[in-house]
């Protein structure tokens, strides 16, 4: 049964929280309305009785709570393996339960992909080590829809599905679906929202050769709650979603088009990899956030979003 989609309140512009960059996070505070937290990065992973457990590193958790004080949180998971037919990572959810009890978040998102599979040798769990895409099929939807609904109910906040970058050609599909049609079917059937990663989308359009404007025009824009923007590099002729550079102009153009057309858009998040901070620098983060805020204000008005002293 389809759950009702209840869009969250607008937040504004934010950045992903980097746990080993306290100075940079403090420097961003005046430019962000919220932080996006990937709680995995605050944890150790341990195996106990054949199960994965995620245990918070107390110093990292306390620092995160402190540095993000007076700003709402949204959670963006990395390790749930939402699309694993073998089974998702229960340890991740137990960790998220702990976090939610400590401090609630406005919504929770995860990737349209899988990290774990069944080892063909012995039937046990196999960790692929890199997120892989799902085929655009009824079976994939049958797996994802109830999981998305379950996550929304578990935390009492919207669950958002994020589009992935992938490099494997000609993903299997049914019913003529491409990624956009698949995302539309997911949101329609589940009542969940979308975290639309414009940089991932741009990478796929470039690498796989489709028209991003045509595809974007078919997306259920009323289900886009959060947008990710980022930049990356090329390798062997492919554009890679390494989130290591400033946002490229084609992505800004897509964002300019999308923001006024997504009626329930709540947030724009600039994403940067921890390891890339040394290369990119704190000033670059501030520039990206300032540009995103100018765009947000231009289309959504200065009054939308939670004001925390941001310009």
């Amino acid at each position: 049964m389809r759950d009702a989609f209840i869009p969250p309140s607008p937040l504004g512009v934010g950045v992903n929280y980097l746990p080993n960059s306290a100075a940079e996070m403090e420097a961003c505070r005046d430019l962000v309305d919220y932080f996006e937290l990937s709680p995995d990065v605050l944890c150790h992973e341990r195996e106990e009785g054949g199960r994965r457990l995620l245990v918070f590193q107390p110093s990292l958790l306390e620092q995160a709570l402190h540095l993000t004080r007076e700003r709402p949180w949204v959670v963006h998971g990395l390790g749930l393996s939402l699309g694993s037919a073998h089974g998702w990572n229960e340890g991740y959810l137990e960790m998220l339960d702990t976090l939610h009890a400590r401090r609630p978040f406005a919504w929770h998102s995860e990737h349209l992909g899988f990290l774990m599979a069944t080892n063909p040798d012995d039937g046990r769990e196999l960790h692929v080590g890199v997120p892989l895409p799902l085929p655009f099929t009824e079976e994939s939807l049958a797996l994802l829809v109830p999981r998305g609904q379950s996550l929304s109910r578990r935390y009492g906040v919207p669950f958002l599905l994020e589009n992935l970058t992938w490099y494997l050609p000609d993903l299997p599909s049914e019913g003529g679906r491409d990624e956009v049609a698949f995302l539309n079917d997911f949101t329609e059937r589940s009542g969940c929202g979308l975290l639309f990663d414009l940089y991932n989308f741009h990478c796929n359009a470039t690498n796989l050769g489709f028209d991003p404007w045509e595809a974007l025009a078919r997306l259920r824009l009323d289900r886009v709650v959060e947008i990710h923007i980022a930049g990356g590099t090329t390798h062997d002729g492919f554009l890679m979603d390494v989130h290591s550079r400033a946002v490229p102009e084609p992505v800004w153009q897509l964002l300019e088009w999308l923001v006024p057309r997504a009626p329930h858009l709540s947030a724009i998040t600039f994403e940067l990899l921890q390891e890339a901070l040394v290369v990119t620098g704190a000033d670059a983060i501030r520039e990206q956030l300032a540009r995103a805020r100018a765009l947000w204000t231009r289309h959504r008005g200065a009054g939308e979003g939670v004001r925390h002293g941001a310009a």
Partner: protein
């Protein structure tokens, strides 16, 4: 479509190809794909030869090596010219188990402790692995203690997160060389024991021969009075080890 089987085969193809163990197409040919239909098998076959598949496997391997650079940096430095070959061997032989630096690094460090070649390599790997163990212990809430040793009939043993590592040169010289990129000191005939324990500031320090002897004397659990009566074991050494949380009661392991 058998999604579970499709993911299983694709996942295994990526793992094998990324590890350099065998090509994705070879893995596909070796696996039982009877649960997949003709189109799925044809897709996997085509994918296995695609540049996108090669890139996906490159990314997987790159992330594994990045985790090792984060979590085993001293050991990688100690390996010197043998670094690339050692990492290649580990990635080939040890399947990816996690996205977490600690899990991957500890597995690599165990590998190097057992097989590493070169001056100080195994000792540095043992040190780095022990430091990870202590960090996880402290993060799990097993804080260093400040109480006095227990009664004399309490059964004691070494703390599960404590370790005694024997270096062949002063530890400061070895670590200083690794951190500054200078040549490692030559191994000496003397032994330089280093204690790693949750109760130590910075988690480790050099120890005296008396402390080292007391530590090794209770690897097997025994009553405290027996430890204190053992030849060469001093009360002072036992107190120092207890204060460092290098020892614990058998009935309260880890505390």
């Amino acid at each position: 479509m058998a999604l579970r089987e499709l993911q299983s085969v694709l996942g295994r193809m990526v793992m094998d190809h990324a590890a350099g163990a065998r090509q994705g197409s070879e893995t596909l040919a070796a696996l039982d794909t009877s649960a997949l239909d003709v189109r799925e098998r044809a897709w996997l076959e085509a994918v296995s030869f695609s540049p996108g598949f090669a890139l996906t496997c490159f990314i997987q391997r790159w992330w594994r090596e990045a985790r090792l650079r984060t979590g085993a940096s001293l050991t990688l430095a100690a390996l010197g010219d043998a670094r690339e070959a050692t990492v290649r061997e580990f990635v080939r032989d040890a399947p990816c188990a996690s996205l977490f630096a600690a899990a991957e690094s500890v597995a690599f460090l165990q590998h190097v402790e057992a097989t590493g070649v070169g001056p100080h390599v195994r000792a540095v790997a043992a040190l780095e692995r022990s430091l990870w163990r202590v960090k996880q212990e402290v993060d799990a809430g097993h804080a260093p203690r400040s109480d006095a040793p227990p009664s004399s009939d309490a059964v004691v043993t070494t703390h599960p997160a404590a370790a005694l590592i024997t270096f062949e040169a002063p530890v400061e010289a070895v670590l200083g060389a690794l951190l500054s990129g200078k040549p490692l000191p030559e191994p000496r005939p003397q032994r330089f024991p280093l204690l790693v324990a949750p109760g130590l500031r910075r988690s480790c320090r050099p120890v005296s021969s008396e402390e080292a002897h007391a530590f090794t004397s209770c690897r097997e659990p025994l009553p405290l009075h027996q430890l204190l009566e053992a030849p060469g074991v001093t009360q002072e050494a036992v107190r120092a080890l207890w204060a460092a949380t290098a020892l614990c009661r058998l009935d309260a392991p880890g505390k």
